[in-house]
């Protein structure tokens, strides 16, 4: 409790966010390994039971110390009641660079009704500077005030 009080609220929220993101990825990996094991095992239901109970809290508790290896990781296709969900996680420099949904509920009527009411899943990525040559560039227009200011400072630096 005392640690929570000394932290800034925004820091705390950030940490919680990171924590859940880490936990999510770790759980995805765990589910993947369990899935791998279950396909090799003759008794799949035992493995699933482990995933749903005791193993989960243990993994969450250790997740902040986990270092992710670079690469692309595909989770198992998981039953989400109204359809299957499957994600792929790309790790770069030990961090999540991209989370892609390979499958999500879309084929059943119930899912379609639900999905029409909520926002669709869209892919995300961290922006990265590109070095390739281009013919031209699309960007937000500066207001004329900003343009004049920018031009003035550019001209000033050109004089120096």
């Amino acid at each position: 409790m005392s640690r929570k009080q000394t932290n800034q609220p925004s820091d705390f929220v950030q940490k919680i966010k990171k924590f859940f993101l880490s936990a999510f990825v770790v759980l995805t990996f765990l589910a993947y390994f369990l899935h791998e094991r279950s396909t090799n095992s003759s008794n799949a239901s035992t493995s699933n039971a482990v995933a749903n109970t005791s193993a989960v809290p243990t993994v969450i508790a250790t997740s902040p110390g986990v270092v992710f290896k670079n690469g692309t990781y595909t989770g198992p296709s998981v039953d989400a009641t109204y359809g299957q969900v499957q994600v792929q996680v790309a790790i770069q420099n030990g961090k999540i660079a991209n989370v892609q949904f390979l499958d999500y509920p879309h084929d059943r009527r119930t899912s379609q009704q639900i999905n029409s009411q909520v926002m669709p899943w869209l892919e995300q990525e961290a922006i990265q500077a590109q070095s390739a040559n281009v013919d031209l560039i699309s960007g937000a227009t500066l207001t004329s005030e900003a343009f004049v200011n920018s031009l003035q400072s550019a001209l000033q630096s050109a004089q120096n």
Binding site: I127, Q130, V134, D135, I137, S138, A140, T143, N149
Partner: protein, 248 residues
């Protein structure tokens, strides 16, 4: 052949690849932008839009182009649930729709003159047609909103329009261009690819005003793709966007 001129306080660039191109088409296209500026600039006291804003001219008395812009603006307002509106505090500022419209009209001048491979650029918004000087699709970068000297995406485009709406960085702060007193909360830039620059520009403007929901608005629109960058440098993009991305 390529020329850049300053019109409406912003750079306008025209490049035509086709053989047989002469200086006349450049004069025609830049002349057209000058005409649009004289008619629609809210900075010019003698422009037609300024006369309307001072109630010295009614819409019924206005030119056909002015009537067309007001009609298109009203159509866009209805299509975007009011997120696009040229009326602000009792004054009309149609610049949010005029730029894309003017680029599209300029491209039409080129098309009617028989040209097939060209682009028209005005202040970050672009209409591309045919192929570039190397006979390939036009390679268009998306500007890094945090650093205008960088690009964060390379697209391969042909016969379509791309518009980017966004804030700009002034000092250390990011401001909403619509309200310079209020920093934008989440979204820094939104690029929209559409069937032409008129369509791409008006929906980019409206969707940007929707903040985080804007990219979902674009996702629902058939024939449009979008790439949205938030203030943390995370991009969210529509499901069909990837097919325009060049990895070469």
């Amino acid at each position: 052949m390529k020329q850049t001129r300053m019109v409406m306080g912003m750079p306008v660039i025209l490049e035509v690849i086709d053989s047989g191109v002469t200086g006349k088409i450049f004069d025609d296209v830049f002349g057209y932008f000058g005409y649009v500026d004289r008619k629609f600039s809210t900075y010019k006291p003698d422009s037609e839009i300024s006369l309307i804003n001072r109630h010295e001219l009614t819409l019924e008395q206005a030119s056909d182009d002015m009537k067309a812009i007001f009609m298109l603006a009203e159509q866009t307002r209805l299509e975007t649930d009011g997120y696009f509106d040229i009326e602000r505090k009792g004054l009309y500022d149609p610049s949010g729709i005029v730029k894309g419209w003017a680029i599209n009209q300029a491209a039409e001048i080129l098309r009617q003159a028989g040209f097939e491979n060209y682009y028209v650029y005005a202040g970050g918004d672009i209409q591309v047609s045919g192929k570039n000087g190397q006979g390939q699709d036009w390679r268009v970068g998306i500007e890094n909103p945090f650093n205008p000297t960088e690009i964060v995406k390379v697209l391969s485009l042909q016969n379509c329009g791309i518009a980017t709406s966004g804030t700009y960085i002034r000092g250390q702060h990011i401001y909403n261009p619509k309200n310079n007193d209020q920093p934008i909360t989440e979204i820094v830039s939104l690029s929209v690819i559409g069937p032409n620059i008129y369509e791409a520009d008006r929906f980019a403007t409206a969707a940007f005003a929707m903040e985080s929901a804007g990219i979902h608005f674009i996702e629902k629109m058939e024939g449009f793709e979008g790439y949205m960058i938030d203030r943390h440098g995370m991009a969210t993009y529509t499901n069909g966007f990837e097919r325009y991305v060049s990895h070469a």
